[in-house]
Symmetry: C2
Subunit: 232 residues, 2 copies
């Protein structure tokens, strides 16, 4: 007899972290419902990557929601502000950069909550990382814990005692190298993923934004060849 799998909503951007996170959720036995956002990001190439990885990993469903965060602005990723290049790692870890998108993970997790309640899925996976990351405040453990508490006061299913929301962050304390290794172990094909904030017109990665720098560092430290196509 087949065991009924527990459902989970997994946030999938199409990068290294969220793809590995999806693979982990499935490896842990969950039936994954992937959620992505078309939020006016300049690097729309990540949505094509998200579609590829969700298909390759055979998630149960993939919902891509339109979200006009560009109408709000406030970030280099959703407005005309330039994406910084060649920022040294030490500097990257000391300040929150202009690629920060106001309340992004809060907005994304809120919509994940809405879908999770509709699906009766108590579990949500998000590939946040607080080690090799850009210093975004909504990637830190204290933020995630606080969101989880709030969620359990917000939803009908929780307040009526039928569900307890759990936000899973399996990557939160891993280095990028460990994440790459974990993904490889689970059979992830990283050539399908996209990390760059500022790809060229044919979607080749710039190799110089914070996201490219962290990706390159991860593959280098893991001793694995980075399959990314970088612009010359």
């Amino acid at each position: 007899m087949n065991e009924v799998k527990k459902k989970t909503v997994v946030l999938v951007s199409g990068g290294v972290d969220s793809t590995t996170c999806l693979a982990i959720a499935q490896h842990e036995g969950f039936e994954a419902f992937a959620l992505s956002f078309n939020y006016g990001q300049r690097h729309k190439a990540e949505l094509e990557a998200a579609k590829r990885v969700v298909k390759a990993l055979s998630a149960r469903d993939h919902l891509i929601l339109d979200l006009p965060l560009d109408a709000i602005g406030g970030s280099a990723l959703t407005s005309g502000i330039e994406v910084p290049k060649d920022v040294p790692l030490e500097e990257m870890q000391g300040r929150i950069p202009v690629t920060y998108v106001p309340a992004r993970n809060t907005v994304f997790l809120s919509l994940a909550l809405a879908w999770a309640e509709t699906l009766k899925a108590a579990d949500i996976f998000i590939g946040v990382n607080a080690l090799d990351y850009s210093g975004y405040p909504d990637c830190r453990p204290e933020y995630i814990e606080s969101f989880e508490k709030m969620a359990n006061l917000a939803l009908k299913e929780c307040v009526e005692g039928r569900m307890r929301i759990c936000i899973h962050t399996p990557l939160i304390k891993m280095t990028k190298a460990q994440i790459v290794k974990k993904g490889m172990e689970l059979g992830v094909d990283f050539s399908m993923t996209h990390s760059c904030y500022d790809p060229d017109p044919v979607d080749r990665a710039c190799g110089r934004c914070d996201s490219c720098i962290l990706r390159r560092k991860g593959f280098a430290e893991a001793g694995i060849a980075d399959p990314t196509l970088y612009a010359p």
Copy 2:
């Protein structure tokens, strides 16, 4: 010399509560940035009401964001589920009805946060009410407090110490009659507002859904004529 007013984001649905809430925010001296959502609600008439009241109260700006909550479903307001009619008040207060929209206030407040951070507005007003209401969990004080805590861990402006988010809920412990009286005191023209979940094709209120029942009760108890056009 003119004093510079503090900015606030006010959630405005176009009903009695959010309109009164907007008037209160302005009366307290804030410069109001109104935020509404086109979220696939069956009662789109409320968006026209929101535009009317925001204009009448001369808010500084009005942002209406498209939000595909109907792609998620799970509510009578965003799917084909029927809106209940003629539910007795005692029963209304004992259960969370099918008009509950999964995580709605969490999604709305998250986007309010994003806009507030971009505007450098530390204050957000929301007209939730936990007395004459439909029992929605995300209208209760404990939920709002928890959201506020989370918000202060989420935003760059907060984490870097330049801002502290405060979620104002001036109506939370008022009866509907008190809200109506307060609005009248502040010069609100309630004929501009819309409450009904299930208006007829020419946008007349049904008079029988929970929202209409609470509205009628409020005007009746306040001893003020309800200017709503009800379907015969």
